[in-house]
Each structure stands twice: as C-alpha cells, then as structure tokens.
C-alpha cells in the first residue's frame, strides 16, 4: 500500500478487514455513526412522518385529490376542511396527501433508478478505460445533450395518459443517470490506479467483482452525495415541468403542480400556496440532511480527527 495515495490506506485497511470478516459489525458501525448524526436522525423521523402522511393518510381522510360537487369553492381552512378548499372544489388536505405521495414516488424512483444505472455504467467505463470507456461515455454524452424538456414536451403532448407519475419518473431518470455516470467514472478513474485494485486483480478477482466489491464501495461518498442531491433535483425538475405544463397532469396531482398552480395565490389564498410549498421544501431538506448523515456514516474518511 502506498504511503501517499490520494486516499489514505491507513483507514481503509482495518475497515476492509472488518468488512470481510464480520459484515454485521460493519453495518452496526454505520448505524451507530448515522444515529449520532442528529440532523440526519431528526430528518429521518420527519421524512418518515411525511411518508406516513402521504401513503397512509389517505385511508383516514374523507376526501381524496379529486373534485367533489359538495365541496364549496375557495373556503379558507375550517373544521371540515383543515387546509381549506380550491376554487374547483378540491379539499386541499386531500390534495396535499396525494401530491406528496406522487412527488415522493417520482423522486425516489428517479434516484434509485438513475443511481443504480449511472453508478454501474460509470464504474464499468472507468474501470475498463480505453475503447470501452470511450464508447460508453459517448452514449452518456447523448443523454447529456438531449434536453429533458424536449422529451417531456414530446410525451406530454402526445397523450394525457403518458403524464402519469411513472412516466414522469422514467423521463427524468433517462436524463439524469448520465450525470451520475460521469461523476462515478471520474472517481473510479483515480481509484483504479490504486494498489488495492491492482492487488485484487492480481489475486484473480473478476471485473464485476472488483467493480461491485471494491470500486463502488470506495466511491460510495460521491455516489451518495449525488444520489441524495438527485432526489431533490428530481422533485424540483418535476416541479419545474409542472410549472411549464409538462409535469403530472390533472386529475392526478403532485406538490410541484400544486405550487405551480398556486404561484399567484400567495396573498390572496395563502392556504393554497404555503402547505404544498412548505412540504416540498421540507422533503428536499430532510433528504439532503439524511444524505449528509449517510455519507458521514458510510465513509470513515469523513470523520475528521480534531487537532
């Protein structure tokens, strides 16, 4: 092991040993580290509550996200409608639950899908290098070039049914995995020159093994940063698409769409403006803090010894 590699081997050596001999201890260490990260723990609890509200809430609430003729128009919050009603006759609380649900579904699907694809793609390209790298990265380039909004516009224009949450999640994923792939490849490019990779190769480990077992875990820091940022990015991308009329379409609803529709209602009908906005910002915030805590927990190099 080199003495002056970019990432010190002193930390990695014991950690790797621990991983190989007793995975449970490793996991426990991570959990303990994470639970010590207070903002992350608070965020996790908050996010769980929001998810509960979004996914379980609808079972306990009278109104869903659609229009009802018996709901009066434009009512400020009251006992019957705790968050008021819209002009059309929606119960805003019912909308908020459904909106949060769709937003969470979109965001997590995007993050998981594009991180999985992007990380594997980027690591493979970086590991092999040469022609494979060149070809794989040119494909990445294609997806970096074609703008998300063109695809969104094409699909939204063609069928209302195409603008379901799954379709939106897929569109955003198709155009965000490439970014992850580039970041991961960048990290792997410097990792692959390191001794522990060469050692693994020398001991006869296969390429997929090296990529999954050695390269990706060592790139976990940047991958997790990118993946958490991506959750927020996906939520905001969906919101932006909704603002331009290219997101999830009525009668279905997302938080982004609620904010977009209520953009002018700040001072006139604040009950339409604040709840979805605050909830959306809250989701993004908690996710970022959780990502922060996860990274600290997963990556021993992050824990800096105070001097």
């Amino acid at each position: 092991m080199s003495e002056n590699g970019m990432f010190g081997s002193a930390h990695r050596e014991p950690a790797k040993k621990a991983k190989n001999s007793a995975d449970r201890t490793q996991l426990q260490t991570v959990l303990i580290r994470f639970s010590r990260h207070r903002p992350a723990m608070i965020s996790l609890v908050l996010l769980a509550l929001i998810a509960l509200f979004a996914f379980v809430g609808p079972f306990f609430w009278t109104w869903d996200h659609t229009v009802y003729r018996e709901i009066p128009s434009n009512q400020p919050p009251s006992g019957a409608h705790p968050l008021g009603t819209s002009a059309a006759g929606h119960d805003v609380l019912g909308q908020l639950m459904r909106g949060a649900q769709q937003t969470l579904k979109v965001a997590f699907t995007v993050s998981l899908l594009s991180t999985a694809v992007g990380a594997l793609w980027g690591a493979t390209a970086g590991y092999y290098g040469g022609r494979v790298d060149a070809l794989m990265m040119r494909i990445v380039d294609i997806f970096l070039i074609v703008p998300l909004l063109v695809a969104a516009a094409a699909i939204a224009g063609n069928s209302g049914a195409g603008a379901s949450w799954a379709a939106i999640a897929l569109i955003i994923s198709i155009f965000s995995w490439a970014t992850i792939a580039r970041v991961v490849r960048g990290v792997v490019l410097s990792l692959r020159e390191q001794e522990f990779v060469e050692a693994a190769r020398a001991s006869g480990a296969s390429a997929p093994w090296i990529i999954i077992r050695h390269l990706l875990p060592n790139a976990a820091g940047p991958i997790i940063v990118a993946a958490t940022l991506l959750v927020a990015v996906a939520i905001l991308a969906e919101a932006g698409m909704s603002f331009l009329g290219l997101g999830i379409q009525l009668p279905d609803i997302s938080l982004g769409q609620m904010i977009g529709a209520a953009r002018t209602a700040v001072s006139t009908r604040p009950w339409l403006f604040y709840p979805p906005g605050v909830l959306l910002v809250l989701i993004c915030l908690t996710i970022n803090f959780i990502g922060d805590g996860l990274r600290d927990a997963l990556d021993p190099r992050q824990t800096r010894v105070r001097r």
């Binding site: 229009v67 009802y68 128009s73 002009a87 379409q249 009668p251």
Partner: protein, 570 residues
C-alpha cells in the same frame, strides 16, 4: 414606465454596498409638471411578426403592438356600437348596390383630404386597393407566396376602382358581404390598412404578383418606420418591447402622451410585482386569473374592470362515436352537465356577475341576442331529468355507482379531453363527476395539441373555446356546416348547412343575424354543442397616472383601441 430617481444606487459588485450617486437627470418622474408623459403598457405575448396579415403575425398581440400606427376606417366601441373613424374618412362609406341579383354588390370608400402617412405622402384609394390585394389568398393571383390568415372577405372582391381619394369595390358575381364595412377597419385581417407608396419606393411593382409578394414579406419582416396613426414606432424588436412616439405628421388630434412603451410579457405571475414596482402602468391580459384580479383590486392606485371576453368555452360531443349518434344520449349527457356549477367555480371568485352563454354567436349585449336555451334542460345539471331521458330511450344503469348500458352493451367509457389550463381542468373534472352520477364513465385526457387532436377527432367529449367578434356572419358556416374543416365532431344537418351558407352571403347584418339564430334554434335540440360561458377578461391601469384608458372587449386592440386619447394625469 420605469421610474428611477437615481438618488440612490446599488453597486453591483457585492450587491450590498450602497453608494450615493450624484446628479438627477431628466427622465425621472414623468407626469410631473413639464416632464415627458410616458406610459408602459403590457402586451401579453410575443408578437410573431411586424404585421398581422400573415399566419405567423395573425394574433391580437401584433394588432395591439401596432395600435396607433395603422390607420383604419372604423371600429366597434366598448358599448358595442360601431363608429367610423372620421379623421381617416371623408365621409361614411356608401353602399352602392346590396342586391346581387341586380348587379355586383358594390360600395365605395373615400379617405379624408388631409389624411397622410407619416412621410407626408397622402393616403389614397390606391392604399386601399393594395391593402386588398395584400389580403387575398395567393390563388386569386394578386400576391404570390402570401399567406394571409383570413382572406375570406378579401377573396370575395372582384375588382377595385381607384379615383384619387376614393376606392370602389365590386364583389364577384352573385356574392354579397354583410360585413363589407369591415374590410379595412380595426377588426380586419391586418387591423387596418397598409401604405401603397412604400412598395414603389422600394422598387416593387404592386401589380406584379411576385413583387407584391416581396412587399408583403418586407412588411412582415421589417419594423415599420412609417405610420398612419397618432403614434410611430421609434425603437424596439419583436421580443422585448416597442417604443412609440407621436407621429409628427398625424392629421387628427395630436396624442397627449410623449412616449408609450409596449412591453411583451408572457407571464401573468409577474404583473402584480411589476405594477407595484412602477415598471408597468397596466395591461389587458388574455387570460382570466382570479389571484391577479384579487390582488390588483386591493391596490389603492389601480383600476380594474372585468367583463365577458371574446372567447367562449363550450363542450362538444363527437358524433363519429357510434354511441353518441343517439340524440337522446347526447341530450342526457348535456342535461347532466351543470353549467352554472362550472362557471361559478371557475369565475365566481373574481367575477361574481358571470352569465351563462345561451347563444353561440351573439353576446348578451348584442342587439341580435336570442336566448336559445330558454326552457331547455341541457346544461342545468338536472339529474332526474337526465335519468328520465335515458329511461325513456331504453337505457339502464343510470344511477350513481351503476354503469349505463343499452341492450346490455356498456355505454362509454368516453374520452373527455381538453387542454391543460386552470379553467378547463376544473371544468372537465366537474363534468367527469357529473356524468358519473348518471352511470357514465369519462376518462380525462389532457392534450397540448388541441388543433391536432380536434382535426383527428380524437375525443368523445371535448371542451375548448371559440372566439366571438362583432363580425359573426361566417361563424355558423365554420362551426356547423357539414363540410367545414372546423366541424370536428361531424355534425350534419341540411337545414343548418343551408342557413349557414345564406348567412355568409346575406345582404346585411340583420338578415345574417336572423339566419344564424335560426340555425342555432335547430342546433340546440340536437345536443351537439353546449356553450358554457364566455371567459371573463380583465384590464387594469394605474389610476394615479393614466386617464382616458378603458378596455374594449369588442376589439382585438383591447384597451389600446384609443391609444391616441390616452393621457397622464398631472
């Protein structure tokens, strides 16, 4: 207008250091004693071209941008009366012959002696003749490669005789035009009439179709540095704004303002901030927005009026769907739809005085208005009535929660479509809920390609808008004639076809109106189109500064229709 007093300025670098700059230059204030009178007005979208005749330029935004620049022969006033522009005209146009059986339909227009273009060149009958040729479809052979958006009434003209300030128009054999006075008025294809002499100045021969085509292209591509109205455009582009100053050679009463900036702004969400900040003095937005209306109404220095606009929403059924060919089913569907609920939830908040639309062609303030839905159950939301219509016609399963069927075959599910605007979203959701109560499933599918969807008849039930205008004679023909390209749902009724055709060729507006009303009387029981209401349009202006500004919902010019009379309060 953009008011900047320049006693305070912010240094850019840190975005925090406040520096005191010395000096006060002249353009601050505006409206103060002796200062220049400047106004900034919003145009709600980007104009597509510099003239309004072409397909690309054919929008109300181009017309509004050209307000005070194009001369026109007359205009409908806010109170729905017609006024000739007697600054431009020497006398009211005269109808020489209105009976096609006696000879060609003929009229003449004489321009005022002192009417001149901004370069001093007199306005003559030749301007009208060239404007007519510029407005015709290329197959007429006057203007090659021209793409006029609405050449119908221009193509009816057979020949134009010019004698100095007078032009005499004769229609083709057997044709009549009840809207003859509108060929060069504010509501015409171009929004007025265009100069002839500039073609010659640029070396084009107007009687050569190719060269006239080049002139046409030039007019649409170049910022006009000419004018025939109170203002002349001095600066600007098609993307940000145009600036107008008084036309020194204007022959009517000189405008009171020294400068009008017309700012193109596509985002209504910015209006209130920009207005409060003094960046704009007012606007006549294209779309209804309850929040903007409520906010502006609360501002102390704003005047806001709101009334029925030109666009009216309606629900159409597609008769190409076999199930919907049964008129009883159609009547039941329209009866279950509660128009008042839809209108109230959409517009009740900002415009409680809304009225339902009971005449497809005429607004309630029109002298030709007849209520075609009096005593009609369609549009009432009367579910019991809808169910009894269905029961009589042999349908089953018309209670809420059931599935409507006829002889065991399920009715629907229907594709309920519209474009994704707030109003239409609300509306289709309500319709969906209302139809569910008589056992009909309607699946909402939004589109952003309304024209394509309609042309391909890819809907069962659709809501969209048509726009009305004081000129109406072609409406029935376009909407309901069995061979019209805009009769998307495939309605076909010989009597209606006949009446619609007669309306286009009627000798005068009264006759045409009567024919149109007769067509609607047949149409309504057939339950093909259900008008809901006209979308309200609003207008606001800064009352601390502006005087003599009001909306004109009869005209595409909207509030800019009398821009020459606008003034700044002192």
């Amino acid at each position: 207008m953009f008011k900047r007093r320049k006693t305070l300025a912010l240094a850019a670098a840190a975005a925090s250091a406040v520096l005191v700059a010395s000096g006060c230059s002249g353009d601050g204030g505006g409206g103060g004693e002796g200062g220049p009178k400047e106004v900034t007005w919003v145009i709600n979208s980007l104009p597509g071209a510099w003239q309004a005749t072409s397909l690309a330029g054919g929008s109300v935004y181009v017309v509004q941008m050209l307000s005070g620049v194009l001369p026109y022969t007359g205009q409908w006033q806010p109170d729905a009366t017609y006024e000739y522009d007697m600054d431009v005209l020497a006398e009211e146009p005269t109808l020489v012959n209105d009976d096609p059986d006696e000879g060609p339909f003929e009229w003449s227009i004489t321009l005022a002696d002192d009417a001149v273009w901004s370069d001093g060149e007199p306005m003559t009958g030749e301007d009208l003749r060239v404007s007519w040729m510029l407005g015709t479809s290329p197959e007429e052979g006057y203007c090659a490669d021209c793409d006029p958006r609405a050449s119908t009434s221009f193509d009816k003209v057979d020949n134009v005789q010019v004698d100095g300030k007078t032009a005499t128009f004769q229609l083709k054999e057997g044709l009549a035009d009840p809207e003859w006075m509108g060929l060069f008025d504010a509501h015409s294809q171009a929004g007025g009439f265009l100069p002839a002499h500039l073609a010659e100045e640029n070396g084009w021969d107007v009687d050569d179709p190719d060269e006239l085509g080049e002139y046409y292209a030039w007019l649409h591509a170049e910022r006009p540095d000419w004018s025939g109205g109170p203002f002349i455009i001095t600066e600007g582009d098609l993307e940000n704004e145009v600036v107008k100053e008084p036309n020194p050679n204007y022959f009517g009463e000189a405008p009171a303002l020294d400068k009008v900036t017309m700012l193109f702004n596509t985002d209504e969400g910015t209006f209130v901030n920009a207005f409060v900040n003094g960046e704009i003095d007012g606007a006549n937005p294209a779309d209804y927005s309850e929040d903007v209306i409520t906010q502006v109404q609360d501002l102390p220095n704003a005047e806001l009026t709101i009334a029925e606009g030109a666009t009216w929403e309606h629900v159409d059924l597609n008769l190409k769907n076999e199930q919907l060919q049964d008129v009883e089913l159609r009547r039941a569907i329209f009866t279950a739809i509660d128009r008042d609920d839809i209108a109230n939830r959409n517009f009740g908040g900002g415009y409680p005085d809304y009225e339902l639309k009971n005449n497809h062609v005429f607004a309630a303030d029109s002298p030709y208005y007849v209520d075609h839905f009096e005593g009609e159950s369609q549009g009432t939301g009367d579910l019991d009535e809808a169910r009894s219509i269905l029961e009589e016609a042999g349908y089953e399963g018309f209670e809420s929660g059931e599935t409507l069927s006829l002889d065991g075959d399920e009715i629907g599910p229907f594709r309920l479509r519209s474009t994704d605007s707030t109003v239409r979203n609300t509306s289709v959701q309500l319709i969906q809920a209302q139809l569910a109560e008589i056992g009909i499933t309607a699946n909402i599918e939004m589109t952003d390609d309304l024209g394509g969807m309609l042309a391909a008849s890819e809907y069962d039930i659709v809501q969209y808008g048509w726009s009305g205008s004081p000129y109406f004679t072609g409406n029935a023909d376009q909407f309901w004639h069995s061979e019209s390209g805009s009769n998307y749902g495939g309605y076909s009724n010989e009597e209606v076809d006949d009446l619609a055709q007669q309306s286009v060729n009627a000798p005068d507006l009264d006759t045409a109106a009567d024919l149109s009303n007769q067509a609607m009387e047949i149409l309504v029981p057939d339950a093909y189109v259900l008008p809901i209401m006209a979308e309200p349009n609003y207008f606001f202006a800064n009352t601390d500064r502006l005087v003599n500004v009001q909306d004109n919902l009869q005209s595409s010019y909207r509030a800019t229709y009398n821009i020459g009379e606008w003034d700044v309060a002192s």
